[in-house]
């Protein structure tokens, strides 16, 4: 009887929340880049108060990953030293550009518009680096494990599904962006782009290894297309574009892809794949992880409730239906 690796499950759940927050930023970043004036009123009120929270969830995931897989730190650092530092350069660019954009009051060359678009560019860049790293972990493309682990960018590029994997995710992100940000003029693009993205993803996984394209893929695939379909139908569109609903659905979609890295990751790597159970921490540290996770999740949960209450207080109440006009009493004829 197999047992559940709870450390993996918890870590992947935190990763799912981080990634869905990041993807919502990525979708906003793309919109700011391609149609700043048309979309800023929808995108910025969401992104400006949330980007710090996304960063905090990123740190949350990194620390839980350190906690859960200590034996993986040396191979990951030696393999991915350069991409990780490129990721950090883009993080500096993202944080500084949005911070300055929020508060700049000059209207010269360095202005709000340019800084927000720079933020969008940096976020898309981060997205690309994250996708390269994630696809390498899923597929093992360009990766050699063993005593001296290495990552070859050229090996990754020339591997069957890599570029398709990135293109597929970008299609999905662009397809779902109108859903999340409720961009009415792009409504009709949502279903075709999202569906095409899912099909491309399936193709990418198949090209990596047919073992990655199993029945489990149907769950995230159907849910992703369902989000776009809900938005396409006018009566259900308001539900799909509810931020909390979308984020919850997104986290479920990402979590449903955990089968791609568990029980083994780096599917086609030389000297691979890697058994996740074999590199998961054990002994007294597991108990400490559970205790801290339980306490921490309560703290984070309460903080998220506080955050949502504050957002709700600040959200203007939409005007209700006009009050019924009292019937005019019939004029008495003299």
């Amino acid at each position: 009887m197999s047992t559940i690796n709870w450390l993996f499950e918890i870590n992947f759940a935190i990763f799912s929340v981080f990634l869905v927050l990041f993807v919502t930023e990525l979708m906003g970043g793309v919109l700011l880049l391609v149609a700043y004036d048309a979309t800023k009123s929808k995108v910025l009120p969401y992104i400006v108060p949330i980007w710090e929270v996304t960063g905090t969830f990123a740190a949350f995931w990194v620390v839980t990953a350190d906690f859960a897989y200590p034996q993986m730190l040396w191979p990951v650092a030696t393999m991915l030293a350069a991409p990780i530092l490129v990721f950090l350069i883009l993080i500096i660019a993202r944080n500084s550009s949005i911070t300055f954009a929020e508060l700049i009051f000059r209207r010269g060359r360095l202005n709000e518009r340019r800084l927000y678009r720079l933020y969008g560019l940096a976020t898309v860049g981060i997205g690309l680096v994250v996708l390269i790293i994630l696809s390498a972990i899923v597929s093992g493309a360009g990766v050699t494990l063993g005593a001296n682990p290495t990552f070859s960018p050229w090996g990754w590029v020339t591997s069957g599904g890599s570029l398709l994997y990135v293109v597929g995710v970008l299609f999905i992100a662009v397809g779902l962006a109108p859903v999340f940000y409720n961009i009415e003029p792009l409504r009709r693009l949502s279903v075709p782009l999202t569906t095409l993205g899912v099909v491309i993803e399936a193709g990418a996984l198949y090209l990596y290894s047919s073992s990655l394209l199993t029945g489990y893929f149907l769950v995230p695939a159907v849910l992703t297309v369902a989000a776009a379909l809900l938005y396409a139908v006018r009566s259900t569109a308001p539900i799909a574009s509810q931020k909390v609903v979308f984020a919850t659905l997104g986290a479920i979609i990402i979590f449903a892809q955990s089968y791609l890295v568990y029980p083994t990751a780096f599917a086609t790597a030389a000297h691979g794949p890697l058994s996740v159970d074999a590199v998961t921490t054990s002994g007294p540290m597991v108990g400490a992880f559970y205790v801290l996770s339980a306490v921490g999740l309560v703290v984070v949960g309460l903080l998220m409730v506080l955050y949502m209450l504050a957002v709700r207080r600040a959200t203007p109440v939409p005007p209700g239906p006009p009050a019924p006009v009292p019937p005019v009493p019939a004029a008495h004829s003299p």
């Binding site: 650092a77 030696t78 030293a81 944080n95 207080r313």
Partner: protein
């Protein structure tokens, strides 16, 4: 190989050196905002409200840049020193990092609620209450990181002997996940950081207010900067006394638990009980040459304890002796700083209006820069003093570091980015603090999100 290790070392030192400067400013501003909100709630003095409105803007900037440099630091630890983080993650030290994340969440969420949605809370005391967890979160983050540093200096919580004996297998056994939360040096280091880091931030703000006061042309602006200066001087006065006390007790801890580092920073060539205090100078062979020696002072400060000397250790194990100079400059700077704050506060108490004298405004500005130098030198002394170890007597930097040369290129880009970003951030903070006419800032509630571009 050695050059890559040195590059890892330099890159991390550079990024953490920049990070602590921004973070100390964030902590100082969080403290000032919290105090100003309270005074605004209590007195309804609109100048305190205006001070809050103005401080929020640079605070958002420092927090945003600080978050970036914090993430850079956290990821660099894994990327540049993976063997160190492997040890950390196999012992209870990772539990400290994990706890830090929750402190960071408290800080972030309350900051977001306070800055962007603060105006929806009508009660003045409610808005003040929102600032308290921000201060607690920022201080707790600093405390938890220093707990990691304390563990690096005086490790515990696993079988160190077996780990060292296992050689390149790096086998960790006998783990106690909670022990690293309290090493023999944790209390001293936490006390030191809880006083010195906020002091740096508040002093920098004090210098800024003192300088801006003398440059102000309107009565409103003068009143605003004076209110800020009053808070900064009062807080600095308390913190500088506590910081000096914390430094003294930390030295006591050092000679007991890190004797070699102690001998190097005090430049004790030989051990003994009635040792002199040596200011500057160097070691030649088995004796100290040059510098100024004050006979018996060190022995007196350490209550006649038997103090360690460098001769007790092989020269190959000594840390770079530059830490004696960095330590001396830090101590001299701290003394000058303490005397200046006492003098300035004393003049104010005696109603001699020190803020009216431009020379003292410039002196305050210089003192605030000195505080940053003292803090950076204190950190450098601690870190260089532990060399060649990353975890004292357990794991060397050379064995912990990432030997992959691919990180040099992007690492240089990060250094260049920081060289441009840190001064620009400080300049930008000044601009946004003074960005709106004083009349605008004197209106409306303190917090709110009205000033953000979205």
């Amino acid at each position: 190989m050695t050059s890559i290790v040195d590059f890892d070392r330099f890159l991390f030192a550079f990024t953490i050196g920049s990070h602590i400067l921004i973070v100390s400013l964030s902590i100082g501003m969080a403290l000032m905002i919290c105090i100003s909100e309270f005074l605004f709630a209590r007195s309804k003095d609109k100048y305190y409200g205006a001070l809050v409105r103005r401080l929020i803007r640079p605070f958002v900037v420092s927090f945003g840049i600080g978050t970036a440099s914090g993430i850079v630091m956290a990821v660099e630890l894994v990327n540049l020193f993976p063997r160190f983080m492997t040890l950390v993650s196999q012992t209870g030290v990772i539990a400290i990092f994990y706890t830090e994340i929750f402190a960071f969440f408290v800080e972030t969420v309350f900051l977001v609620v306070y800055v962007y949605y603060g105006s929806t809370f009508k009660g003045r005391y409610t808005r003040w209450a929102l600032t308290v967890p921000i201060v607690v979160g920022t201080l707790l983050s600093a405390v938890l990181i220093v707990m990691v540093n304390a563990w690096m200096n005086t490790p515990n919580g696993f079988d160190i002997g077996s780990y060292v004996a296992s050689g390149t297998n790096y086998t960790v056994t006998g783990v106690d996940p909670w022990a690293p939360f309290l090493t023999v040096s944790t209390g001293y280091e936490v006390f030191h950081v809880l006083t010195s880091v906020p002091l740096t931030g508040v002093m920098i703000l004090g210098g800024f207010f003192a300088y801006r006061y003398t440059r102000s042309t309107t009565a409103e602006e003068k009143t605003l900067f004076l209110q800020g200066l009053r808070i900064a001087v009062a807080v600095s006065f308390v913190l500088v006394v506590l910081a000096i006390l914390a430094g003294v007790v930390e030295i006591d801890d050092l000679y007991r638990y890190q004797p070699l580092k102690y001998a190097a920073i005090e430049l004790n060539a030989q051990p003994g009980t009635n040792l002199p205090m040596t200011i500057f100078g160097t070691v030649s062979g088995t004796s100290v040459v040059g510098g100024i020696q004050i006979p018996g002072l060190q022995g007196w400060l350490e209550h006649g304890a038997n103090l360690p000397g460098l001769s007790q250790y092989p020269q190959s194990a000594w840390p770079p002796l530059i830490i004696h100079e960095t330590f001396d400059v830090m101590i001299l700077g701290a003394v000058v700083l303490g005397l200046f704050v006492l003098f300035y506060a004393g003049l104010w108490v005696l109603k001699r209006r020190p803020f009216e004298r431009p020379i003292l405004a410039y002196a305050f500005l210089a003192a605030s820069a000195l505080t940053a130098v003292v803090m950076e030198l204190g950190w450098a002394t601690d870190e260089i003093g532990r060399q060649p170890w990353i975890v004292y007597n357990t794991l060397t930097v050379a064995n912990a570091a990432n030997p992959n040369s691919d990180l040099v290129g992007p690492g240089i880009v990060i250094i260049i980015l920081y060289i441009a970003l840190i001064p620009f951030t400080l300049w930008f903070m000044d601009r946004v603090f003074r960005g709106k006419p004083i009349a605008v800032d004197l209106e409306g509630p303190a917090a709110g999100g009205h000033d953000v571009n979205y």
